[in-house]
């Protein structure tokens, strides 16, 4: 199947007073058209930086970027921010974690939503407004007409995130970047928003990159998963395969640390001790070695290569769980 997005050997670094901070260290990600890719990792693992670099949103004299990003057949990795803009809206769109800061607080929902329709699709104002109301209906906001006249501050967090989603899908993008879209929301609303995204993806034939720190979120809403750690891909597989046979100790530890309702109460929760390594000063060896329960001498000396099993399951570990596939 053709890939809508193909990232090859992407590296992103930032010059800082303490030296070069390597946020993304050679990442390959393929998103097949109309499929959903989950990007999972802790804060600081490089997942947001990777997405922003892929969209050409990182600018500044301190950014060091290399590698190839092919979107819908076009190489966009070397384009600057102004040139990559032509792909926004109709090609790709993004939704963010905090739906309040993604909306302008002093403009009504209607005018914000109609803006991209007028600019991108060349609609007149009247049509754009009618389409904006339709879009609000599409994201299941009750009473779209009344909502068009409201300001973001008059809506709850969940409703604001629906508005942001409506804005993102307004020009029918082929790929939606969703960066922690439900982290700021209640569990009940999270379930609704994830379901909405899955339904929209199916109806609009749209691919999605779902960035999250929670494996529980990707389990039911993605086709593929990429696990990032310290800027490296440490495991990559179709979602079902990944959950059926995790190879990377880090992925297993992430899964175990999710609070679950079927865990006994009163006991201690399984956790990952320690923290991510310092990105300005990577130590030799596997970046997860200091926190890994199965660590051996070799892991502290060499970075394991990404092993790709015949079934496509990729992992970066000398001693994978259950042995090499």
């Amino acid at each position: 199947m053709n890939s809508i997005l193909s990232i090859k050997n992407l590296e992103v670094g930032f010059d800082t007073p303490r030296g070069l901070l390597q946020a993304v260290r050679g990442v390959d990600v393929e998103v097949p058209g109309a499929s959903s890719m989950g990007i999972v990792g802790e804060s600081g693992s490089g997942k947001t930086v990777m997405c922003r670099a892929a969209m050409g949103l990182l600018r500044g004299s301190n950014v060091r970027r290399s590698g190839s990003v092919v979107f819908d057949g076009d190489e966009i990795g070397s384009l600057d921010s102004a040139d990559v803009r032509q792909y926004f809206g109709t090609g790709m769109a993004m939704i963010f974690q905090d739906p309040m800061t993604a909306l302008n607080p002093v403009r009504r929902i209607g005018s914000q939503l109609a803006e991209s329709l007028v600019i991108r699709l060349g609609m007149n104002k009247k049509d754009a407004r009618a389409r904006a109301a339709e879009l609000l209906g599409l994201v299941r906001i009750p009473d779209p007409e009344a909502t068009l006249r409201k300001f973001p501050g008059q809506l709850s967090g969940g409703m604001r995130q629906r508005v942001v989603i409506a804005t993102a899908i307004a020009c029918k993008p082929k790929l939606l970047f969703a960066d922690e879209p439900t982290t700021a929301l209640d569990v009940t609303v999270q379930a609704q928003i994830l379901e909405l995204l899955s339904d929209l993806r199916r109806d609009l034939d749209m691919a999605m990159m779902l960035v999250t720190h929670d494996l529980g979120v990707v389990a039911n809403h993605t086709d593929y998963v990429t696990v990032l750690y310290a800027g490296l891909v440490v495991e990559q597989a179709p979602t079902r395969k990944l959950f059926a046979s995790m190879k990377m100790p880090y992925t297993e530890a992430l899964l175990k640390s999710i609070p679950r309702l079927d865990q006994p109460s009163g006991g201690r929760m399984p956790m990952i001790g320690g923290r991510l390594p310092d990105p300005t000063n990577p130590e030799p060896g596997c970046p997860f070695a200091p926190r890994c329960p199965y660590v051996q001498d070799r892991c502290r000396k060499e970075v394991p290569p990404l092993t790709v099993a015949p079934d496509g399951h990729a992992y970066r570990c000398f001693y994978p769980i259950g042995g090499n596939a």
């Binding site: 609303v189 379930a191 039911n220 999710i258």
Partner: protein, 328 residues
Amino acid sequence: MAGSGKAHMRPSADTILSVEDLTVEFKAAGGSSVKAVSGISFDLVRGETLAVVGESGCGKSTLGKAILRLIPTSGGSVRFDDRDLLAMPENELRQMRPAMQMIFQDPVSSLDPRFSVARLVEEPLAIWERGTPEERSKRVDELLEAVGLDAQIVRERKPYEFSGGQCQRISIARSLALEPLLLICDEPVSALDVSIQAQILNLLQDMKERYGLTLVFISHDLAVVKAVSTRIMVMYLGKVCEVAGPDTLYTSPRHHYTHALVGSVPLPDPSAPRARAAIQGEPPSPVDPPSGCRFRTRCPAATDKCAAEEPQLAEVAPGHFVACHHPR
């Protein structure tokens, strides 16, 4: 839901906190008012962890602040260590403060960015003039080590040099400085990564055992409170729906709202049958709450009786209380 009633109260010598008919009202636009907490009663036995669970806007944070009299209340009573906090003059209340502490959701904004870690943790001790400066400094080191930070390395650093999880550790160290009896934790892990949540939850358990704390744990996520709580109280629009032990609440939720909360927790298993979202919509405005049971507008089992009559908490099994006309 929700309900009023006091069937779940357990008056005993071990009760450390007893809240009855607590009401908190805020003025709203147009001269109306919002009852964020609407006649809530519960009690806490020494050494237990009560989890207060509900969606945004259900009044759980307001409840936490009202218990400590950090915001004005408009009715009811709060007895802490057998003294009525709400009736107490300010200067007496101040003397009670060391025994009741709170930690907040955003660990970064709850720490003064200009203070060093040592000063942040020492501040409560200095204000209350506990010990000499040397003794206080020693105590700060003890507290930092207790929460898993290397005192010698972190003492002189500022909050911005730390991750969210580490800032929450500093907040916990500070809240424990005055050896409180009661610690109210308002969404202490919601702003943290999943991997760090477990670290902080385990730390709170350790601190509870080590310092003999009684905890109130406020959260919107049932899965998070499951591991740490001894009793869970589910709230909806300022009222109580259900009170039970954590295992009972998970295996046999009797209130339809609790059932929906349980069903909303994402299961990290792609082969599990994918259920539709357990509950649709969002809670109605608390300015004009539904009559009778406040949950009836989103409840699959609602009948005319639910609109007419407010359900009262009733014991459906030993230690399990539900405010519902048609429990599951």
